[in-house]
C-alpha cells in the first residue's frame, strides 16, 4: 500500500521537474555592485517581475563592481563566457559591437518612439542597446546670485552666448565674493572629461573626432574652432575663474552649497542636494552657446544582447519587458536619473511638470548630443581627457591638440578604421 503514494510522488515530482526544466535559463550581467543608490534593487525587482510574468525564461543576475566591469566583460568574451544580456555604458557600446561582444538588438522599434536620443545605442545603422534612463548636465547656481550681479537668467530657447557667459564669470570674479565663479568638476577624472567638456568644444564648433567618417580627428580637434575652445578653456584657469586639475574632491562635492563657487557645471544626480540646500532659489541652466549651438552630453548605461547568446529571443523579451513607462518612472524616482520618455517623466517625482528637476528633461531633449559613436571612442576619450588636463595646466594649446589628433588618428589607423560602414 505504501508503494502507490511513493509512485504518485515520483510522477508528480518528475512532472514538476520537467515543467521547471522547460524554462530556459538566461544570464544578465549588471555593473552596479555596491552602488549606494536604489538602482541595483530596481534591476533585481525588474528581473523578478519578468521571471514571474512568463514561463519561458528565467533570468539570473550577476553583479560586478563598475570599476572592474568592462575588464570582466572583455575577459569573458575572450573565454567565450559572455552572458545573454549585457549591461553596457552607452559610449562603450560601439566598441563592444565592433569587437563582436554584442549582436543587434532586433527589438520592436515602435517601443522606442518618443525616446530621448541618449538611451538609444546605435552603431553602423543598427540598434544594439537601450537604456531605461539618461543623465544631463546644467549650469547649476542660485537665482539670487545671478540677480545680485545683474546677470540675465538664460532659458532653453535663449541660453547665454559665449560672451555673456564670460562676462558673467568676470563680474562674479571681480566681486571677490567667491573662491571661484565657476566649478567645472576638474576633481573628477576619467569619463567626466569627455562627457562634461566635449560638449563645450562642440559648442565652439569642434569635436573629438570627425563624425562624418569617424576616420580622423584632423580639423575638428585641432581646427580653428578647437583652438579657440582650447584658448578659452586655458583662460578659465589662468584668469582664476575655475579651480584647475588639483581641485579638492570635497570642494567639488560641496563647494557650491558652501558658497565657494557661484556656478557649478554638474549633473542631474547632484541636483537633489542643491535643491535641498537652496530650495526654490536653486536653478538649473542650459549650457552656453559658444557659436555652434548649446550642447550637453548624453547616454548612460543600457541593456543589450551578447553575440554569443543562444537565446536572443529571451534576451529581447526581457529588454522589451523593461521598456515600459512604469519601469522608467520607478528607476527615475529611485535613482534621480532622467526617464527616457516624456510620458514617463510626467509621472516622476523629479521631472514632472513643476517638479524640482524638470529643467533637466528639457535640457536632455533640447541640447543633448551623444559622445562620438565609434569603437575608437574608448581611446579617444582618454586622449581627450589628457589633452584637456594638460591645457588646463598650461600646455601650449595648438601643440597639445595636434598631438592628440596624431594619437587618435594613429589608433584609428592601427585598428583599420574600426569597421565603420
Amino acid at each position: 500500500m505504501k508503494t502507490l503514494p511513493i509512485l504518485a510522488g515520483l510522477v508528480i515530482s518528475t512532472s514538476l521537474a520537467g515543467a521547471a526544466s522547460a524554462q530556459t535559463d538566461l544570464s544578465l550581467w549588471y555593473h552596479g555592485a555596491g552602488s549606494a543608490n536604489a538602482e541595483e534593487a530596481l534591476v533585481n525587482e525588474l528581473v523578478e517581475e519578468f521571471n514571474a510574468s512568463q514561463s519561458d525564461y528565467v533570468i539570473s543576475i550577476e553583479t560586478f563592481p563598475q570599476l572592474a566591469y568592462n575588464d570582466a566583460v572583455g575577459a569573458a568574451a575572450l573565454a567565450g563566457e559572455l552572458p545573454d544580456i549585457l549591461d553596457v555604458d552607452g559610449p562603450v557600446m560601439p566598441n563592444w559591437a565592433w569587437a563582436g561582444y554584442m549582436q543587434p538588438l532586433g527589438i520592436d522599434e515602435s517601443l522606442l518612439e518618443g525616446f530621448l536620443p541618449g538611451p538609444i545605442g546605435s552603431w553602423n545603422g543598427e540598434i544594439y542597446s537601450v537604456g531605461l534612463w539618461d543623465a544631463a548636465k546644467a549650469m547649476t547656481t542660485r537665482k539670487s546670485t545671478l540677480e545680485k550681479y545683474g546677470i540675465r537668467i538664460p532659458t532653453l530657447d535663449t541660453p547665454w552666448t559665449g560672451d555673456e557667459f564670460n562676462a558673467a564669470l568676470q563680474t562674479i570674479a571681480a566681486s571677490g565674493d567667491f573662491d571661484y565663479p565657476l566649478d567645472l568638476g576638474m576633481a573628477w577624472k576619467g569619463e567626466w572629461y569627455p562627457y562634461a567638456f566635449s560638449p563645450l568644444l562642440q559648442s565652439f564648433g569642434g569635436d573629438i573626432v570627425d563624425r562624418t567618417t569617424y576616420q580622423t580627428a584632423e580639423g575638428v580637434l585641432n581646427g580653428d574652432e578647437a583652438i579657440a575652445f582650447g584658448e578659452w578653456w586655458q583662460g578659465l584657469f589662468e584668469k582664476g575663474y575655475a579651480p584647475g586639475t588639483s581641485q579638492d574632491a570635497a570642494d567639488r562635492e560641496t563647494g557650491l552649497i558652501e558658497g565657494k563657487y557661484a556656478i557649478s557645471w554638474n549633473g542631474n544626480w547632484a541636483a537633489p542636494a542643491v535643491v535641498e540646500a537652496f530650495g526654490e532659489d536653486a536653478i538649473f541652466l542650459p549650457a552656453p552657446d559658444f557659436g555652434n549651438r548649446p550642447v550637453i552630453g548624453a547616454a548612460s548605461w543600457q541593456f543589450g544582447v551578447s553575440a554569443t547568446s543562444e537565446n536572443p529571443d529571451g534576451a529581447r523579451a526581457f529588454i522589451e519587458f523593461a521598456m515600459q513607462d512604469r519601469w522608467f518612472t520607478a528607476f527615475s524616482d529611485g535613482t534621480g536619473l532622467i526617464p527616457p520618455t516624456r510620458s514617463a517623466a510626467a509621472d516622476t517625482k523629479f521631472y514632472a511638470e513643476g517638479a524640482p528637476l524638470e529643467a533637466f528633461y528639457g535640457l536632455s531633449e533640447g541640447q543633448a548630443l551623444v559622445r562620438p559613436v565609434t569603437p575608437g571612442y574608448i581611446v579617444q576619450a582618454k586622449v581627450f581627457e589628457k589633452a584637456l588636463a594638460d591645457i588646463a595646466d598650461g600646455a601650449d594649446v595648438a601643440d597639445t591638440l595636434d598631438a592628440a589628433v596624431d594619437e587618435i588618428n594613429e589608433d584609428i589607423e592601427n585598428n583599420r578604421g574600426y569597421g565603420h560602414n
Partner: protein
C-alpha cells in the same frame, strides 16, 4: 676617558633610535592615515588630508563608515574567499616548491642545472603577460566533480589557486636555503638507509623554519593582493576575493573615501595577523639569509 666613551655611546644610541623612530614613522603613517580616516566622514577626511589632522583621531569620529561598508559589500564573503584561496595556495606552494628545491639541491639527475636556469629565467616574466593564454587554457580545462565531467575552470576556487602553486621565486628561496644545510647530515641519513622522502620530511623541513616563513609571507602577500586574475576568471560574487571587492566602493564619479578606508582597514587585519604570527621566524630569516 671612561665618561667620554659612555657619553659617545649614549649619543650614538640616541641617534640610532631617532633614525629608527623616523623610519618607523614614515612606514606607519600610511597605516595610521588609513585607520584614522576610516572613522571620519568622507568630507572631513579629504579636508584633514591637507594637514597633520589626517593622522589624528580628531573631528567627527564614528563607526558609520564600517556600517555603510558592510551594507555596500559582502565583506565577510570576500575576506573568507581571500583567506581560503591564499591559505590553500600558500600551503600547497610550500609543499611543492620545497620538494622541487629538495630535488634540485640534494638529488643528482641529468639536466638539473639547465632546468634550474630556465626556471630562474621565468622570474623576469610578469604574470600579467601570460594571463590571456592562461585564461584561454583555464576556460577549456577538464574537471571531474560532483556534477560529473565538465570543461572549464572559470568561476571556481581552483582556478584561483592551481596556477599559483608553483613559482620560481619560492623554489629559488628554498634552493638557496637548502644549499646552506650541512651536506654531511644528508649523507649520514642516506648511509643509515633513510629514503629521500624521510630525509625531506624528518630532517630538511624541520630545519627550514626561516625559509618557510619567508616564502609563506611572500606568497601570502602575492595571493592576498591578487586583482587582475580573479577579475578575469571569477564572475560570481560568492567566490570573489577582497581586492576585486574594492571596486564596490567606486563608481564613475564618486568615491566614498571613508568607506574605502574602513574596507581597507578590515581587509588588512588578516595580513597583519599572518605577519605577526610569523614575524619572529621571518626576521630570523632576513637576518640569516639577507633575503627580503
Amino acid at each position: 676617558m671612561a665618561t667620554v666613551t659612555s657619553d659617545n655611546r649614549g649619543l650614538r644610541l640616541w641617534t640610532r633610535y631617532a633614525v629608527l623612530i623616523l623610519v618607523a614613522v614614515i612606514f606607519v603613517f600610511p597605516l595610521l592615515f588609513m585607520v584614522m580616516s576610516s572613522f571620519k566622514p568622507s568630507t572631513q577626511l579629504l579636508l584633514d588630508s591637507k594637514s597633520l589632522r589626517a593622522f589624528l583621531p580628531v573631528g567627527d569620529l564614528s563607526l558609520q563608515n564600517y556600517t555603510d561598508a558592510f551594507i555596500r559589500a559582502p565583506i565577510g564573503v570576500f575576506v573568507f574567499n581571500s583567506v581560503l584561496v591564499t591559505g590553500v595556495t600558500v600551503v600547497l606552494c610550500l609543499f611543492v616548491c620545497s620538494l622541487a628545491a629538495f630535488a634540485f639541491v640534494f638529488i643528482d639527475w641529468s639536466g638539473k642545472a639547465v632546468i634550474f636556469s630556465v626556471l630562474l629565467a621565468t622570474l623576469i616574466i610578469p604574470y600579467e603577460t601570460i594571463f590571456i593564454p592562461l585564461l584561454l587554457m583555464a576556460s577549456q580545462l577538464p574537471w571531474i566533480g560532483a556534477d560529473g565531467f565538465e570543461l572549464g575552470w572559470l568561476n571556481t576556487y581552483r582556478v584561483q589557486i592551481v596556477p599559483f602553486i608553483a613559482d620560481a621565486l619560492s623554489i629559488f628561496l628554498f634552493v638557496q636555503f637548502f644549499k646552506d644545510l650541512p651536506k654531511e647530515l644528508i649523507e649520514a641519513c642516506r648511509v643509515e638507509g633513510a629514503s629521500w622522502w624521510t630525509i625531506y620530511r624528518k630532517v630538511v623541513m624541520p630545519l627550514s623554519g626561516p625559509v618557510i616563513a619567508t616564502a609563506a609571507i611572500l606568497k601570502f602577500l602575492f595571493m592576498y593582493n591578487q586583482f587582475l586574475w580573479p577579475l578575469m576568471v571569477v564572475q560570481e560574487e560568492s567566490i570573489r576575493p577582497v581586492m576585486v571587492g574594492l571596486g564596490y566602493f567606486t563608481d564613475q564619479l564618486n568615491v566614498p573615501w571613508g568607506e574605502v578606508m574602513a574596507y581597507l582597514t578590515i581587509i588588512t587585519v588578516p595580513v597583519l595577523a599572518f605577519y605577526l604570527a610569523l614575524q619572529r621566524v621571518f626576521i630570523a630569516s632576513v637576518a640569516s639569509t639577507g633575503v627580503k
